[in-house]
C-alpha cells in the first residue's frame, strides 16, 4: 500500500504540465549557462539598486535622517554586531545594541516565530484535517476561522498582554493566532482537493478509512500544507514587530522599534534588511523541505 501514491503518481501525467525530466531531489546545482544568466541578472539588479541608493544619498537629494546611505547602514550593522565604545574617549564599551548583539536579537525573534508557528502548524494541520473529514466541524469552525483571519494583530494584542502578561507567552500567542488560520485553510483545501480517483482506488484495494487518510489524503495534501506554512511564516514575520513593541528586547522587531523612536534610521534600515533576508532564507528552506517531502508536486 505504501507505493500507491508515491509509485503511481509520477506515471499520471495526463492533465498537468510536465515538470523537469530529472527528479528535483537529484538536481545538483552544476551552474548551467541558464543559471549563470539568472544569477547574473539578479546580481546586476542589486548593483544597480545599490548605486542608485548611494547616488541619491551622496547627492543629498534626500536628507540622511530619512534615507541614510548604504555606508551608514553598513556601519550601523557592524556596530550592532560588535563590542564598541559608546563614543570616542568615553571609558566604556557596550556590546551590540540594547545589551544584545544584532544576531542575538534575530535569534530571539526566530525563537518566538519557531514556537508560535510550530504550534500553529501542528494545530492548524489537525484542525484542517478535522474540517476536511467532517462537514459538521467545518460548518461550525469556519466562521470563527475567517473572523480571526480578518483581525489586525495590533488591535487585539493589548488583550493578549492583559491575559498572558508581558513576557514571551503573549508574543508567542500572537504569532500563533496570526499563523494558524493560514495553515488550516491550506490544509483544508489540500484535503478537499485530493482526487477522488486516488481515494476510490485505495478503497477498492481494501484500504480502511484510517489507511486512506494516512496513506492517500495526508501525502496528497502535503504540497498545500507546505504552501500554507510559507504563508503562515510570512504572516508571523509581519506580526513580529507588533509583537515586540512591548518588552521586545531582545528581538529584531523590538530593536527596529526602539531605534525608530531614537531616530536612528541607519539601524532601522539594517534591521529591516536583516528581517527581509532572514525571511527569504527561511522561505527557501521551507520550499526545499516541501519539495523533498512531496517530490511529485506539479507532476501528479
Amino acid at each position: 500500500m505504501t507505493q500507491v501514491v508515491a509509485g503511481e503518481a509520477p506515471a499520471r501525467k495526463d492533465d498537468e504540465p510536465e515538470g523537469p525530466a530529472v527528479p528535483p531531489a537529484r538536481r545538483r546545482p552544476k551552474l548551467s549557462p541558464e543559471a549563470l544568466r539568472h544569477w547574473g541578472i539578479r546580481a546586476g539588479a542589486l548593483i544597480v539598486f545599490l548605486v542608485v541608493w548611494w547616488g541619491a544619498t551622496a547627492a543629498h537629494v534626500i536628507e540622511p535622517l530619512y534615507l541614510p546611505g548604504p555606508g551608514d547602514v553598513w556601519r550601523a550593522f557592524v556596530r550592532a554586531n560588535t563590542w564598541h565604545q559608546v563614543a570616542p574617549g568615553v571609558p566604556r564599551e557596550v556590546l551590540g545594541e540594547q545589551n544584545y548583539f544584532l544576531w542575538e536579537h534575530l535569534i530571539a525573534s526566530l525563537q518566538r516565530i519557531f514556537i508560535g508557528v510550530g504550534v500553529a502548524i501542528v494545530f492548524g494541520v489537525l484542525l484542517g484535517f478535522a474540517m476536511g473529514s467532517s462537514k459538521w466541524v467545518a460548518t461550525m469552525v469556519e466562521p470563527y476561522l475567517n473572523f480571526l483571519r480578518a483581525l489586525p494583530p495590533l488591535g487585539y494584542f493589548s488583550l493578549l498582554i492583559v491575559w498572558f502578561g508581558i513576557g514571551d507567552t503573549s508574543k508567542v500567542w500572537l504569532l500563533f493566532l496570526a499563523a494558524f488560520p493560514a495553515v488550516t485553510v491550506a490544509t483544508l483545501s489540500g484535503v478537499l482537493g485530493v482526487k477522488r480517483d486516488y481515494v476510490n482506488a485505495a478503497r477498492a484495494l481494501g484500504a480502511g478509512k484510517s489507511q486512506v487518510l494516512a496513506r492517500v489524503v495526508m501525502p496528497a495534501s502535503v504540497p498545500d500544507i507546505v504552501n500554507g506554512i510559507r504563508l503562515a511564516v510570512g504572516f508571523a514575520w509581519t506580526t513580529v514587530v507588533a509583537a515586540e513593541l512591548n518588552n521586545g528586547i531582545p528581538g529584531i522587531g523590538g530593536l527596529a522599534y526602539v531605534a525608530g523612536t531614537q531616530l536612528r534610521t541607519p539601524l532601522v534600515i539594517a534591521c529591516i534588511i536583516v528581517i527581509g533576508i532572514t525571511a527569504l532564507l527561511l522561505d527557501s528552506v521551507i520550499k526545499w523541505i516541501g519539495l523533498a517531502a512531496a517530490p511529485w508536486k506539479g507532476r501528479a
Binding site: 505504501t2 508515491a6 531531489a25 536628507e63 535622517l65 530619512y66 563590542w83 559608546v86 563614543a87 568615553v90 571609558p91 566604556r92 564599551e93 557596550v94 556590546l95 545594541e97 540594547q98 545589551n99 544584545y100 542575538e104 536579537h105 535569534i107 530571539a108 526566530l110 525563537q111 519557531f114 510550530g118 493589548s158 498582554i161 492583559v162 491575559w163 502578561g165 508581558i166 513576557g167 514571551d168 501525502p219 502535503v222 513593541l245 512591548n246 518588552n247 521586545g248 528586547i249 531582545p250 523590538g254 522599534y257 526602539v258 525608530g260 523612536t261 531614537q262 531616530l263 536612528r264 528552506v285 526545499w288 523541505i289 523533498a292 517531502a293 517530490p295
Partner: protein, 353 residues
C-alpha cells in the same frame, strides 16, 4: 517511502534554532565599563530574597543609571531582579493591571489614569524620577509665531496620552485656545515626517525629535512654563501596592540606589552621561543636552511636603481632573486617594542617613 528521507532535514531545520543558541530575555548587564565598579552606597542586605520585576523606559534619568551600575543586584545580592523595557507609560499601566510588574516608570498622566476610575489600580508612587522641564517643549515652524496666542487656527502634533499632551492642552486651556487649535495624535517619528511635509505647524515633543524640529523651527513654550502655571508633569516610579507593603526593606534599598544615581547626575555629570549613553545607545552629546531638560530630586527633596510629602498627590489629582475633560478617565476620586497613593516612607528613611 520518500517522505522519511526528508525527515532528517526537517528535524534538523526545526531543531537548529531551538538548541544550542537560545537567547534569553532580560539578561544581566553586559557592558564593559573601563572605570571602577561602584559598590552599594549602603550596607548590602542579604536578607532580601524576593523577586523584583522592574519596568523601565528609555528616558535619561536615575533609573537607567541604577540599571547600568547593576546596583540593585549589589545591594540585594539574594533578590531576583528582572528589568523589562517598556515603550510607554500606558503599557506600564497595563502591566500593573495584569500584576506582571512590581515597580515601573511612568509619566504623571498614566499614573493619574491608573489611580482613577475605571482602573482604580492598587499602585503607589514611590519616587519622582524627574520633573519635566525643557525636555518637552512646543516647537513651531513659522518664525512669525513667538507666543502660544499665535497658534489660533493652526495644527499641532503631539502623542496622545503623554505628558506632552497634558502640557499642551493645559497651555491651550490657559490661553483660551482649546477650541481654536487642531491637535493631532502623532507618534514622535510621525511628527518629524508631518513637520517636514508641512502638514503640522508645530509639535509638543521630547528628544531626540525636538532637536530635529528646532533645526528649522524654534521653541515657544516648555513644560517648565506650564509647571510654573500650575500644571507640572513628572516621570514617576509606580509600585504595586501589595509589593510595597510586603517588602519595606527592598523599597528602602531600591530608594537608596535611586538616591545615589541622582547624586551622580548632580555631582559627576560625565560619569552619568557615559552610563546613560551606554544604556540608551546614543551619542553622549545628545544625552548631555537632554539632562538639562529635566530636574532631578534627591531623597531629602522628595520627602518634603512639596512632593512625596503630599503636594505631588494634588498634582496627580489635577492631572486626573484634566484627563477627565479629555475623556481619559471616567471619574476622579477624592484627594485622599491620590495623596494616600504616595509612599514617602522609604525616601524619608534614606534622607535621614
Amino acid at each position: 517511502m520518500r517522505i522519511p528521507r526528508a525527515l532528517p532535514g526537517v528535524l534538523l531545520a526545526c531543531s537548529l534554532p531551538l538548541t544550542g543558541c537560545i537567547v534569553e530575555s532580560g539578561r544581566g548587564e553586559m557592558s564593559r565599563s573601563l572605570i571602577p565598579e561602584v559598590n552599594c552606597p549602603v550596607e548590602p542586605d542579604t536578607s532580601i530574597t524576593t523577586d523584583i520585576r522592574i519596568g523601565y523606559q528609555q528616558i535619561p534619568n536615575g533609573d537607567l543609571i541604577v540599571k547600568d551600575a547593576n546596583l540593585l543586584a549589589k545591594c540585594m545580592p539574594n533578590a531576583t531582579i528582572t528589568w523589562t523595557q517598556f515603550s510607554s507609560g500606558a503599557d506600564v499601566v497595563r502591566a500593573f493591571g495584569s500584576n506582571a510588574l512590581d515597580l515601573g516608570l511612568m509619566g504623571s498622566a498614566p499614573t493619574a489614569k491608573s489611580l482613577s476610575a475605571p482602573l482604580n489600580l492598587d499602585v503607589r508612587v514611590v519616587w519622582v524620577q524627574d520633573v519635566i522641564g525643557g525636555a518637552e517643549s512646543l516647537a513651531v515652524k513659522d518664525s512669525a509665531i513667538d507666543a502660544i496666542a499665535g497658534l489660533r487656527g493652526r495644527r499641532i502634533g503631539v502623542p496622545f496620552g503623554s505628558t506632552s499632551h497634558l502640557s499642551l492642552q493645559s497651555a491651550l486651556d490657559k490661553a483660551g485656545l482649546a477650541q481654536s487649535v487642531t491637535v493631532i495624535n502623532l507618534e514622535p517619528s510621525a511628527i518629524l515626517g508631518a513637520w517636514q511635509g508641512d502638514q503640522i505647524d508645530g509639535a509638543w515633543i521630547w528628544e531626540p525629535t525636538l532637536s530635529e524640529l528646532t533645526k528649522d523651527g524654534h521653541v515657544i513654550m516648555t513644560a517648565e512654563d506650564t509647571a510654573e502655571a500650575g500644571s507640572p508633569t513628572y516621570d514617576l516610579e509606580g509600585a504595586r501596592g501589595e509589593f510595597v507593603t510586603a517588602n519595606p526593606a527592598a523599597m528602602r534599598m531600591w530608594t537608596a540606589a535611586q538616591n545615589w544615581a541622582v547624586g551622580l547626575i548632580r555631582d559627576d555629570r560625565e560619569d552619568a552621561v557615559a552610563r546613560l549613553a551606554g544604556q540608551l545607545g546614543v551619542d553622549p552629546d545628545q544625552v548631555r543636552g537632554q539632562l538639562d531638560g529635566y530636574i532631578y530630586l534627591d531623597a531629602t527633596e522628595q520627602a518634603a511636603p512639596k512632593y512625596l510629602g503630599g503636594g505631588l498627590g494634588t498634582d496627580i489629582r489635577n492631572t486626573a481632573l484634566f484627563l477627565q475633560t479629555q475623556s481619559g478617565v471616567d471619574a476622579v476620586g477624592p484627594p485622599a486617594v491620590y495623596t494616600g497613593a504616595l509612599y514617602p516612607d522609604a525616601a524619608r528613611e534614606v534622607a535621614q542617613k
